[in-house]
């Protein structure tokens, strides 16, 4: 079972025709997103399933003894947020989307029960040799309006 529960549509072929192709992606246009609340359960399920076992994510007493002052999410939790905060029609779900690499900057840690909002666009698109690329740009903020992390990446778009 995925970390967000059974309501998440795991068949990426459904709605395939509702998603923007490379030709339809307009750099700068906002992608449709929704806020997501990350419970301790979601954070810890995510951590376990990506191979994290640091007590900072699991052991409240240990986490309180560190400068973090309590359990936090692993910085890589944006891997989940990118899909959790977008809709089933988002082009990042198109079968055959190939990730080519990403860069992320971390401002403040995410803590249990934080509600995270995503602002996402395609910043740019280009063709290199015969491959169609999109550059995506994401900004995640918490319920206090504080930036938690920002990231940018490139995907090769399916043809």
């Amino acid at each position: 079972m995925n970390v967000m529960g059974e309501n998440f549509e795991t068949d990426f072929w459904k709605e395939v025709n509702d998603r923007a192709t490379w030709d339809m992606i307009v750099p700068g246009e906002l992608r449709e997103t929704r806020p997501v609340t990350l419970t301790k359960q979601i954070i810890q399920d995510f951590a376990r399933k990506v191979g994290e076992d640091n007590p900072l994510y699991f052991d409240e007493d240990y986490a309180k003894s560190t400068p973090y002052g309590g359990i936090v999410a692993p910085p890589s939790i944006h891997i989940l947020l990118m899909f959790a905060c977008t809709t089933s029609k988002d082009w990042m779900r198109s079968p055959g989307t190939i990730n080519a690499g990403q860069n992320w900057y971390y401002n403040a840690p995410i803590r249990p029960d934080d509600t995270i909002t995503m602002r996402g666009t395609a910043l740019d698109k280009f063709i290199k040799k015969d491959r169609l690329f999109a550059v995506h740009e994401n900004l995640f903020t918490n319920q206090h309006g504080q930036v938690v992390c920002t990231g940018r990446g490139q995907t090769i778009r399916p043809v």
Binding site: M1, N2, V3, M4, F8, T10, D11, F12, W13, D45, F46, R48, K49, V50, G51, E52, N54, L56, T66, P67, Y68, G69, P74, P75, S76, I79, L80, M82, F83, A84, R93, P95, G96, T97, I98, N99, A100, G101, Q102, N103, W104, Y105, Y106, N107, A108, P109, D130, R131, I156, P158, V159
Partner: protein, 151 residues
């Protein structure tokens, strides 16, 4: 110990060895369930056999590229947290697809220390290699040594 003292203990040339990670259908399922990324690239061997991606045939499912990212993050944070460092940035490129049965190992190396007006920074070079010693991902990372965690 304060941030300055922690920072002084970090040496250019320090190497952080990550733990080896072997890719199985279970690890791919776990990563899909964690990331919500159910792209058939990672789950549908039949589709992967017949699909050629503009001339690149993968002959089977491939690991999520972001699994590299998560393992590099683990390598850095497990090393930084007890040393008082805060993981600030990670930039990655995927060099080679990772397949079922491959064992990959991340490594980070301190290449430079950059104190600025406002902070104490450490740069890392990152490489993830497979069991043949071939790079599958490369990158750079940045950590900051601070007395408090940004809140």
């Amino acid at each position: 110990m304060n941030a300055q003292e922690n920072y002084e203990k970090i040496q250019t040339g320090d190497v952080v060895e990550g733990r080896p990670f072997t890719v199985t259908t279970d690890t791919i399922q776990d990563f899909g369930d964690a990331s919500l990324d159910y792209n058939p690239l990672h789950f549908d061997p039949n589709w992967m056999e017949k699909n050629d991606f503009g001339g690149t045939s993968f002959n089977g499912v491939i690991m999520h590229g972001m699994q590299n990212f998560a393992l590099i993050t683990r390598t850095l944070t497990d090393w930084l947290v007890p040393r008082g460092g805060y993981h600030r940035r990670l930039e990655t490129r995927w060099i080679k697809p990772v397949k079922l049965g491959d064992t990959i190992t991340p490594e980070a190396k301190v290449i430079r220390k950059n104190p600025t007006d406002g902070g104490l920074w450490v740069q890392f070079d990152i490489i993830v290699k497979n069991q043949q010693g071939e790079p599958v991902a490369t990158g750079q990372a940045l950590a900051e040594f601070r007395d408090t965690i940004p809140a």
